[in-house]
Subunit: 546 residues, 2 copies
């Protein structure tokens, strides 16, 4: 690979075993287990394990998988909530050279079967809670999969489907199984299927190098100190838990597990375990705000929360920060290892009025220290839009925290990397200070009478209404205008308002053409990661008579 | 490079411009200048520059060098103290593809000429303070070098030797010089000659990848927050300032420059600029302790100091920490990008008695989060020594923060990498908790009557004496015993003691055979980095009559 410039100077300066080692998150576990063997690695109900213990179990898992016949490059799937076994799989599966495929626990049997077929899963680790849907999925899979059951003591129980349970698999391990890194840092470490779009899910492939870089990138972005106490509110199946199973381990932190994400449980866990860091979609913040209103929790240390998945409404940011929780707004996609863009804060912004601060914070921002580059550009010409905060273009990202590509899908991969940038599909403007702000997913833009309406802009206004817990605005087909905005609203408990009142409220705060023509009060359909499923709402909106 | 396992799965998953970017410290500057253009990058006397300005000047330097004919792989040398131009060179030189060769400003003309010849320097940036020695050195160089003078406003002035001055070089730049990364992250970024041993200096070559990794490694080790204020007490010519020109920039910190390292100036700068971080050899701590005794400075925020170069004596650690300065003890060598081993602290050690804490802290420790591995081993068998805190072996290091090798010296390179580890030449024990502790450089061990005496152990005792400012113990040839320990002592200002009193003090605290037979009161000869030049003392000791 070395460029042949001054080749005579390069003699004797080649890569060798002493000066070149594959970048891999696996090193993080070995280092922490070696330096801090007795520090708490994981808390789960009554379970407590040190780093020494966790490392041992990861080695056992790797050894056990090898004994099942798993080889370098094979896929091992996992279907589980945020339990210690998932963290162990994040290390143990790649330790034996295999690729970890995390399944979204909200998927139905057809989707699961599609994925298990597509990635040719060799082994499936599955929490017994999901036995029914997994049984159904396995019936639709065309090859044989070795199933290992995880019987979590904190779980509701359920049938065992497999050849043995997880603990029995660990028991098969060789005592002296040796830690090893991949020979090539470009080797695949994980495979995550995107969800939520029409058509079949696409399998996003991560490398050891990229996972290492973005795990560090998260630590940098938070300037995370050593020994964080990290609460697992973000699903680990989502972009490998945004790479935090690895990053928290690098900082010798404690993983506090949680099977279910619920407002009171979150706040209790923060208090009980001295949680310092957590992640979650804005909807998780809404849960926390609601629980705080009822519970009046007080925390004795600062808490930092990273949020992404949707631009957090200004009102939500203000309320959560009043609870003493400092929000870092990040942005990403499965294709960039979870978040790798951040609304990097400027200390002088602290002095701005609350509302202005929240608006600054709602912007998606700039690349992580460890992501290389972001631009907002016209996808046809690849020319960046002017930094005027107005002209809409597509967010493009390049750097070491960008996926290898889509599995078995070179055509879509090539399209998504056209021109040497990853095309995110998110539409944004670039502000004069170089911060990107998303205006919408391509498909979430509402085009009414030829004018583009950002559904986020309308939602932001709705969120600022005192009765609104959550809001989603989608396009409703309209004979005259093409599309009109239709709002779906979840009210705060005990609140009451009317369709007309909300429409009037919008008219006070928005250009008239942007205001919803219809308002539906309902519970919003959400993905397991807290993203509102707009395609469901679009379907509903299309059936409302005009 | 991809391993041919499941090759069919890798189709379409190759590296490309969107997902693979050379790891390079250059990215750190561009990112910070883009995100935080108005933040203060550098303070030097009256000079203040923002990151936008500094970035601009780095691009100008790169462009100016290109116009002088500098090409990828060429060497650009610099002879300067800790001034802004040195930071600019840390980025500007590699920006144009060249390799930065930093010269130790304490070297004599012969050594300088040797280095300039050996690395075939094409351009030399030189501070006018050093015109006399540089003029002499250039007369001994056999090829022609383009000399650029740096006329620092804070400097003492001096002759200009070159074709133009540094500012004039910047003025030659193209306005639209484009930022670019090296095509290959293994490309060389820097060349640092080791000093202090007999024989000719060896040229240690760094890669962009390694520099990036260790710059991040330092930030991790300190868990450095954003916007540090970093005081340049450590020479930038020493292992590229331990990679801090790059790391501090990554965290959008402020570089506070300093031409001369002096106790009062250090403490005044900490107070005036709100310094949060600094580095230096233990001797720098001694300067600070002495100045504090006279000045009684008070700091309004926590200060963190990284120290290496010699195991800090327990007494020095205690005193400096009483000043409110938190010490991180690190260890490294030029060959591992400066420090990449750290005495990683365990919070529970805070509870230990002062003396015990200091002893823990004096150990060299464990690899950085971003360095891969350390072992203490028998260099012949490459077998690790037992973790008994007693058996001596050689410190061996491997990882991405290990040099490419020695320039034009494949034989010594191969020897230093024998068995796939870098052989440090430092002798150490491994404690049961996996922390290495240096007992001596191979050549610093005193062998008396067949018994090994660690000069560090004796020095540690001497440092704990109330009158001792600095101590160095070396071997004195002895007809009967082979060697005996000879102590060289710098007393604290105003202190008085006698040779016999110090020998008695040692006898109270050490096995008799370890006690110095001779004590010399003198100013200790030091390298520019504050390391005591033991070879000078050895020479002196050999001339003392027995």
């Amino acid at each position: 690979m070395t460029i042949a410039v001054h080749a005579e100077h390069e003699v004797g300066l080649e890569k060798n075993a002493a000066n070149y080692v594959s970048l891999s998150p696996l090193s993080m576990l070995r280092r922490t287990a070696t330096v801090y063997p007795q520090r708490p690695a994981v808390i789960h109900g009554e379970v407590r394990r040190t780093y020494s213990q966790m490392y041992q179990r990861c080695l056992q898992l790797a050894s056990g998988l090898e004994k099942l016949g798993v080889k370098t490059g094979d896929t091992v799937s996992i279907m589980a909530p945020n339990i210690p076994e998932f963290i162990e799989a994040s290390f143990g599966v790649p330790l034996c050279g295999a690729v970890l495929n995390s399944l979204n626990i909200r998927l139905d049997a057809d989707h699961l079967a599609f994925i298990l077929n597509h990635c040719q899963a060799k082994v499936l680790l599955t929490d017994t809670e999901f036995a029914p849907v997994i049984r159904e999925a396995l019936n639709k899979v065309s090859h044989s999969i070795l199933v290992i059951d995880i019987a979590d003591s904190q779980g509701p129980g359920g049938d065992c489907l497999g050849i043995m349970d997880y603990e029995a698999l660990l028991d098969t391990a060789d005592d002296n199984y040796a830690f090893r890194l991949p020979e090539d840092e470009w080797q695949s470490i994980a495979l995550n299927y995107t969800s939520g779009t029409t058509g079949n899910p696409k399998g996003v492939v991560y490398s050891h190098r990229g996972a290492y870089i973005n795990a560090l990138g998260n630590c940098f972005t938070w300037a995370m100190p050593h020994f964080p106490v990290y609460l697992w509110t973000l699903p680990m199946f989502h972009c490998n838990g945004w790479c935090f199973p690895w990053g928290v381990t690098a900082m010798a932190g404690t993983h506090v597990c949680m099977r279910r994400v619920e407002g009171h449980q979150i706040l209790q866990a923060i208090k009980q375990h001295g949680v310092t860091h957590l992640c979650g979609a804005p909807i998780v913040m809404s849960f926390m705000i609601a629980a705080q209103r009822e519970g009046g929790y007080e925390f004795d240390r600062p808490v930092k929360m990273m949020t992404a998945g949707a631009a957090p409404p200004a009102a939500v940011i203000s309320q959560i920060e009043q609870m003493g929780i400092e929000i870092t707004h990040v942005y990403g996609l499965t294709e960039v290892y979870g978040p790798s863009i951040v609304c990097a804060w400027h200390p002088e912004w602290d002095e701005l009025p609350d509302n202005e601060r929240a608006h600054r914070k709602a912007r998606q921002g700039v690349p992580y220290e460890l992501q290389e580059d972001l631009m907002v550009a016209d996808p046809d010409t690849m020319q960046p839009v002017p930094k005027d905060g107005k002209t809409i273009g597509e967010i493009m990202i390049r750097g070491n925290a960008v996926m290898k590509g889509y599995l078995h899908n070179p055509k879509t991969t090539a399209e998504s990397f056209a021109g040497g940038w990853f095309h995110s599909g998110d539409l944004a403007v670039m502000h004069p200070d170089g911060y990107a702000e998303i205006k919408d997913r391509s498909k979430d833009i509402i085009i009414s009478g030829g004018e583009n309406i950002s559904s986020i802009e309308v939602e932001d206004v709705l969120y600022s209404h005192e009765c609104v817990q959550a809001a989603a605005v989608v396009a409703k087909p309209d004979e005259k205008w093409g599309e009109t905005p239709c709002a779906f609203i979840e009210l705060k408990p005990g609140s009451q308002t009317s369709e007309q009142a909300l429409i009037d409220f919008c008219k006070d705060n928005l250009a008239k053409f942007k205001c919803p023509r219809h308002v539906v009060f309902t519970e919003l359909p959400k993905t397991s990661t807290g993203k509102i499923q707009k395609y469901v709402l679009r379907e509903q909106a299309s059936q409302i008579s005009a």
